[in-house]
Symmetry: C2
Subunit: 182 residues, 2 copies
């Protein structure tokens, strides 16, 4: 599973031994949305994890391979930003894939600090055999919604994510940046 998710429900007022919680309506709406979003996300992750597990890959490993498969060789840093792991994690992931012969590092001539990661033939073959299946699993996991609904959902989430992303980018970096400036 993924990150532990909140347990909040609309039960307000004193519960046996619990606390009274009062929130205004917009906040309550947002909280509810978050609970539902987190839960559906986790449910899907679980389905995907079960699928990926069958090929002895972690979700992170699969994410790296997927990035390489779809976008071709990339700098480690690029992949890192895409799949959201730490720098240490990125190195570790490529190491592991390399050890299994699924990916390899390539030096960058124009910048000798940088290294590309790329799929090996074996890795590419694996993805070719795995990915369509994986896509089918996602398709199946989404089949609770009609296509039109899926598109609507996508649009809403995109808007939501854009704002949240802006907020996220602001918060921790700002903290560091502000501290630097002293």
């Amino acid at each position: 599973m993924n990150s532990p998710k909140r347990a909040t429900s609309k039960e307000h007022g004193p519960v046996k031994g619990g606390a009274a919680v009062t929130a205004d309506l917009p906040t309550a709406t947002a909280l509810k949305l978050w609970v539902v979003l987190a839960r559906s996300h986790d449910a899907i992750v679980e389905v995907l994890k079960a699928d990926i597990d069958r090929h002895d890959l972690t979700i992170a490993e699969f994410a790296v391979m997927e990035a390489l498969y779809h976008k071709g060789p990339q700098l480690l840093g690029e992949i890192q930003k895409r799949i959201l792991v730490s720098s240490g994690g990125m190195t570790f992931l490529v190491d592991r894939l390399a050890k299994r012969g699924l990916a390899e590092r390539q030096n960058c001539q124009s910048d000798r600090r940088a290294r590309y990661a790329a799929l090996t033939k074996k890795g590419d073959k694996l993805m070719q055999s795995i990915f369509p299946e994986h896509a089918a699993v996602i398709h199946k996991a989404m089949k609770g919604l009609k296509q039109s609904e899926q598109r609507e959902l996508t649009a809403l989430l995109k808007t939501l994510g854009k704002e949240a992303g802006r907020l996220a980018a602001e918060t921790p970096a700002c903290k560091a940046a502000m501290a630097e400036q002293e």
Copy 2:
């Protein structure tokens, strides 16, 4: 951050050094939805993590406290199901909260296997001071959408999550259950 997330985009056909990928339209729609869902989820998690961090709590710890705060004392197993951690993780989390004096264990008279977890006074006070702020952060993270849109989104996600949850419950448990039956 949470679980590493996919990098798929709609770029199909051969990319520099990459592979050709062809998916039928419904699958492409589902894939896209998943990418967007995962990204917005992660963005929000990042925002929340930054908030929770300020109180020296992990997301998992906060989730436990939140469950106790809103629903009162509960069996460890109940919390576990709610916040989706392993049994070992559950024990560990309560240990840690107990060590900090924020939560405590209580024996259950009717079932001596079971133990309740409950917030201490200190833990309850902490939640009282933290939670409204936390709710405000969520509210802020969601402010890219109007309330009506948020409700719409909630409804769609609920449908999606229900189906995905059914699928998730089926997959890994079934595997184990089937194996048992031999």
